[in-house]
Point group: D2
Chain length 405, copies 4
């Protein structure tokens, strides 16, 4: 793979590199690691890459790699830049014939995501989106149990994602804070675009339901900010189930506390990212069950995403790696027609199968994510309580424009 962004000083690039290579199925062979050409090259060399493949810009990388032979050139491009660059890079990468794995949110707005879908369909290439939290084995276990009907009809979904890292003015000095709070680089939302979209994705992924209506209350809690840093959203799903979603970057003391609860007719399920190897299942009339990774029977897809036996905790990097590794199987599937024929080559993963491979978030998740962001912002700006969830671009007023008004 080749990487765009993630040079020295960036945080998420290093995470992506560890995740992509963790299962020994993907190799970083080139990169354009920074918008600063010198830093881009220096970053690549620090990663032990061939100097000729430490590119000075993503355009250069995509053009040069396309000229290399099949056995040499990268198979896929990983995009780990600020949001506003996701679309142009993905577009050019696909057009040059490379599969794409993108950090989320997929694009800077919904219109771009819809355009991206067209390009993907035209090129016939693969596209993956790192909704990392769906990569956790026990998230997959929760999904499997719901799919099997262990909860009965779902009544209510409660998802929350509090963080505290932007609680105060002086938290804005980091590089990561700077672009996230800048509408030009981040899009129309900070909190909902950065983490609310993870929460919405997790809720839909685990339940298999789709949001159809919402009521939103976004807020900006520090003077001078142009984008939201906190929000609560009431939800209605296509099955009639209801839900609530809370996300915050100003909840002081909270680390990265994504938590999901799903209540059905006969049981409920709870999962928390801070202790990701446990699912708690509760019933009306019998003891709750602590379902621990590797203890008792696990779903086939869960197993395909685990590396260690019970009691040896896997974490965030492994969840991340699951998305990459399954995506690598998608690519190999293309290359070798039948993945089953190459089973012998993958001894380090417990198992893998079509269902696990197809579990990687793709362009549909990307579009729903961008639609979520736009619908939430639009709903928040409305005085009417309920807002229909639409897959069409929304009309939105930017905060600084409001301030002028």
């Amino acid at each position: 793979m080749g990487m765009v962004g993630g040079g020295q000083g960036a945080f998420i690039g290093a995470i992506h590199r560890i995740a992509a290579q963790l299962d020994n199925q993907i190799e970083l062979v080139c990169g354009a690691f920074s918008s600063d050409p010198d830093n881009a090259v220096a970053s690549g060399k620090a990663l032990y890459l061939e100097e000729s493949r430490c590119y000075r810009s993503y355009q250069e990388m995509l053009k040069q790699e396309a000229l290399l032979g099949d056995d040499k050139r990268m198979d896929m491009v990983v995009i780990v830049t600020p949001n506003f660059l996701h679309f142009p890079i993905a577009k050019m990468a696909l057009e040059q014939g490379f599969h794409v794995m993108s950090d989320k949110p997929a694009t800077v707005d919904l219109a771009e995501a819809l355009a991206l879908k067209d390009i993907i369909e035209q090129t016939g290439l693969l596209y993956g989106l790192t909704h990392t939290y769906t990569g956790y084995p026990m998230v997959k276990e929760a999904k499997a149990r719901i799919k099997q009907g262990q909860l009965g009809k779902i009544k209510k979904v409660v998802v929350e994602y509090p963080q505290g890292w932007l609680a105060n003015k002086n938290d804005e000095n980091s590089k990561q804070a700077a672009w996230r709070l800048d509408p030009k680089k981040s899009g129309i939302s900070c909190c909902m675009g950065d983490i609310g979209v993870h929460a919405a994705n997790l809720a839909e992924y685990v339940t298999g339901l789709s949001i159809t209506e919402l009521c939103a209350d976004l807020s900006t809690n520090v003077a001078g900010r142009l984008l939201d840093d906190d929000g609560t959203v009431l939800l209605r799903f296509n099955s009639g189930a209801q839900g609530t979603l809370q996300a915050s970057q100003v909840s002081i003391g909270e680390e990265n506390s994504l938590k999901l609860r799903v209540y059905g007719e006969t049981a409920s399920i709870e999962w928390s990212q801070l202790e990701p190897n446990t699912v708690l299942m509760k019933f009306a009339d019998k003891p709750s069950q602590l379902i621990r990774a590797g203890v008792g029977e696990m779903d086939k897809i869960t197993q395909a995403n685990m590396r260690t036996p019970a009691g040896h905790p896997e974490g965030y990097l492994e969840a991340f790696a699951n998305i990459y590794t399954q995506f690598s199987y998608q690519i190999r599937d293309r290359l070798f027609v039948d993945i089953n024929a190459s089973d012998a080559n993958n001894s380090d993963l417990n198992t893998h199968d079509k269902a696990a491979i197809n579990d990687v978030p793709g362009i549909e998740s990307a579009i729903r994510g961008m639609a979520f962001i736009e619908n939430v912002v639009a709903a928040s700006q409305s005085e009417i309580k309920w807002h229909p969830f639409s897959l069409k671009p929304q009309k939105i007023t930017l905060l600084n424009e409001l301030d002028k008004g």
Copy 2:
């Protein structure tokens, strides 16, 4: 004290009796324990009361007791009936010269609560309301720390109260379910009236803030029910702080999971009723603190509401007892002018003082509680997002009327 309601087969009556007498400051001397006269008398006898004071109706009790001498007759009446009887009993009790302790919600609607306030003011008697959860020592510790400014300005309040005991149709058979789901006995709300009001009270009690605006989404999740069994409310407080309140009786597997989180500028605080002896305090840049009852310095009011040293868990009954015991000191304060003079008589409680005594929820809490219920239901029926919190009775459409439409 004398009790109205709480006869054989009732749950909450026994709880009140234990709580009231736990600190040896209050004695049950009479009662009208049931609307069924025979059951009323039998229940009283089973409690070892004098037969002559096992009354057949509350009217009889109030009249007869009023005729007894000062040294003999009860000082206060405890009301543990279904909601619709709270007001008439409290009214008659006050008019007959008795202090009143009432189960919550105070009345069946806001108009009654306002009328009750007038009667209290006219009679000059004492009125208490068993918002039990504010009786927990560590809730008081959280309040004290917020009051001292340990959190800085409050930004956000998140309170949730999920239960699962009314999740399904067949859960409606119990006596307790029956009247709570009957608008004639319960008022215009089931879930919000029964537990949402606790959550709102807890949020206002701990933070010292007042709700000024709300957006509500109530729902009824089982066919045939006339009242809400679940709801989410977005909140605005008088300081500008925001909040969310969730209450549910259909969240299967949840026991009685009242939980409060308050986020300030410099710290946040978390308390959960299922593990009531701990407050978790979190900060941006240093380790979280597990503040445990009795470990380290506790606020004076916290101490006045504890009986055991660290590591000897107190529970729900002790929280309940705190409200009764402090109320008994209010009464004694009236009787003996200066409570401090009688300190020697109260060796079983660590300490007590005016601040702790005045901490008992009274008619103001009662009115805000009834206003909360009416405003939430009105807000839920509105298509407009935000609804101002008003202390005036609200215009509300009952669900069964809607169904006819």
Copy 3:
């Protein structure tokens, strides 16, 4: 009941009074609350007792009460003094015709406990011992499940009881520390006598097994102390099961962290006093179960010791009260021949039956407890690893005697 000890300034007396009266089955009618006659009388008056029954010494109380009529005099004596007084008071109380409830450990040494047994048998009266922790409903639930065979044959028992309140020299200033560290008042052990004996009792109570052999390592961690303040004991039980017991008063930061784990062939069970309403049950090949008080079916004895529904935590005082209330039924059983006939009189407890009543720790527990203390101290003084558990008084060298050597 009448109380000996527990006057103003004492901690445990107030706990006993709340516990004894919590279920409205026992009434405190008299007392000799202090070895200081003036304090004894003042303490009684502060508890609203008749002045004539606020006695100046236990001898006076026992003699005077014995002269009162059947309908007036106390039924039972509660002993809450330092250890060395337990035996003489219990002896005189029994000889004067009163049932006895004693704080633990039962006596100051094993010889006294054996003598006490003779007196009890001669008088035919009832004797109870407040091994409080066995009063917790979920401890009883654990016992019931083991008895039912849900764990299979027991392999291993791990019990630990760390406290930190005597960690340092300056912790010795309290009244409670002073007598516990004084061999004349406390007996031959501080840590094992005060809390180790609770741990041993809990292990035997829950498993139904008996200790037959032990290896002990007691230590004294603060200069100048004559008795142990920490210890670990390896155990063998009559079934062949093994175990470990740890108790400590110098484990800084620990509150009162009694915890029991029992491992069988097919399942294991875990209970912790700091969160007493949960039993965790684990299996080899299926999810662990969080068994919560009131959720799902509970054993009949468990139910007989609960007052609140699921999610309304009961605590230490309720566990304590269970011992008193069941003991009161034992007494009433004597008085009325058949307890079932008086069921109607006990509406405030869920249920009660012979099995629950007989669950109160008595003289056999008392003897095993004193034997545990003596055997542990003897084993600790031995250079040989294993020491047989004997019900005969042990030969022990006191630390200060050793120092002379």
Copy 4:
């Protein structure tokens, strides 16, 4: 690196490969993955290795690699075979000029470990041992705080390591169970050799103390086993501190529950492998602190072993990787003289320094580990309570020999 053992069907080999390569500092270039030559080659090919470097035996690998040029041949050998092969492989590897990283326990007995030390000293090469649990960042944080004196003088160490995977006869069918229970392959202990040694290492590592005396009680809980599957050890440390160590493979329902508690004069510390990103610190007179990875200031060595920000849990594989990555810096240090000069090349790790690099367990840990195993078994066979901890090989009777007697 080259690997010995860890072929298809083995568990720990895959773990080592992920760990070694996670930080992109080490590359697997060859291997002799199985004692079955065909499986060895097939396993290597499945890992995408050059066919010429998929060796048929470790002897072949060591000889052939030694013949390759400096820029091509492996730098280090990783040994992941059953215990009895550790020594001969390490010996030959060192003699052929390769650094060695070995799975634990280092050798099959103490004599071998002592011999290994001589070889290491003679060759001047590097030797590392994967005591994985010391690789956790929060274990290092606990160690740092103790070193800084935050606990005062240490009084007591409590370490426990219960597992349940060998609880019953039918658990013996797995490959991993088979060799661990075979004295010829495993050495003189199963439970203590496999996990007790981790617990002892953790206790010494975190506290900086050394065991000087012990009293042991090992047992075998399933008929037909020749080695221990459970044990408790009482400890004395060189500072006079005391301790207990429990390890078990028959505690049904336990996963891999390594837990350490250290009690000092002024504070205590607690860490649990199942939730490895938290250290709990307790005090006598102020709230406990939940020290979470990445929240607040961390020690420099802790930071050097973290990859993710607060709230993004790292797990077992990352702890494992820390040992490998720091070891790779040791090697590089040798190659480039001054590691600081190559800082620019290591952008993916937060930082690294001499202290962190020297934190890798080496031959001294290996010798103490083997001595622990032998001393524990010898102590367990003694009828005398206390056994001095010695670094000389112990005289031990094997269980099957006992059976013959």
